[in-house]
Symmetry: C2
Subunit: 170 residues, 2 copies
DNA sequence: TCGGAATAGTTGAGTACTCAACCTGCGTTC
DNA sequence: GAACGCAGGTTGAGTACTCAACTATTCCGA
């Protein structure tokens, strides 16, 4: 590996600002959701994915994929959500190994109850702070960052796959 | 509270992209740092803050503030870093309650060892993916998001303070 | 100079995540 | 049709974080 390309002063500032923004923003989002809906943002997202599906059901594996999570994470998460009565696990028809997570009525109700407050937070701390041009830019920037990582993910099994440059000297 | 201002389709897309990007990106950063430097990104940041200080030392409280963490988090984190021999805690001169965290030589060495690989990841997955204009935009966007949240933070004690709109009906 | 209130930091219980090991059922192949 | 490997999912140990309760020191007012 060739000499490290350190960050310029400008890049440093941008990097720090990005770190601060994401840390503060997601901290706020998570905190509010925990307070008002008794669930972390990750669980909220699981409920959202299920609710967007025609029959409010998704195989565990697909749930993991669409949530960009590991199987293990989803398994633990759904176990919790099941305890709360918001999700139920059923054996999947065709495949004896497969399970589907089903959003219960109570889960849908919890989601509907949580949504307005959550959306309001996202607006207040993200969209309301940005000009329309900045919103558009953020969308493009996010896609530019996400796309290659999504691609890299699907190349291996469970995320993230460590087959990257190692940082050793040449 | 008035009717929920739901997200438009465009905003939805942006929001999802932003979620995906941050989740994938920080997942990658954290994973690589854990693998190559045996520390999570949060701990790396602590070492960085200490290293940037003239005497490689910072009061616990100041460390919490500059890291945008809670006291508790820093306390736990420094305890860990102390076990690893990367940081030492000393009584602070003037104030009998105060403690300073001091970056040890070994800690500085660990930081120096970790830095190139880490910076390389940040470049590879962030700066290299963006045009200069996008980098500039990201800096401004990040500041626009971070600034109000920083301000809100200092208004109360430990972050984040829940004194926000509650999401109840009016 | 005594007695609170505020400040600095720690502690412990509970929660969410990661990684690796592990079942279980499916599908081949011979 | 038995044995292999593999895909789908779970499990448990270990780690990082949060929140609330706590200790210890300092500040301040009468």
């Amino acid at each position: 590996m060739r000499r490290t390309r350190w960050l310029s002063a400008d890049e440093q500032r941008t990097w720090r600002a990005f770190l601060d923004a994401t840390q503060l923003f997601f901290g706020q989002i998570d905190h509010q959701l925990q307070l008002q809906a008794k669930m972390p943002h990750a669980y909220y997202e699981v409920l959202v994915r299920l609710s967007e599906t025609p029959l409010r059901r998704l195989r565990m594996g697909d749930l993991a994929t669409t949530s960009l999570s590991s199987k293990s994470r989803i398994s633990h998460a759904v176990a919790r959500l099941e305890e709360a009565g918001w999700v139920r696990r059923e054996r999947s028809g065709g495949d004896g190994r497969g399970l589907v997570a089903v959003l219960t009525d109570s889960g849908l109700a919890a989601l509907r109850a949580a949504a307005p407050g959550h959306v309001e937070q996202v607006r207040a701390h993200l969209f309301d702070r940005l000009t329309p041009a900045q919103v558009a830019a953020l969308g493009e920037i996010s896609e530019a960052i996400a796309a290659p990582l999504r691609a890299g993910r699907s190349a291996c099994g469970d995320p993230p796959c460590g087959a990257e440059r190692t940082g050793d000297d040449a």
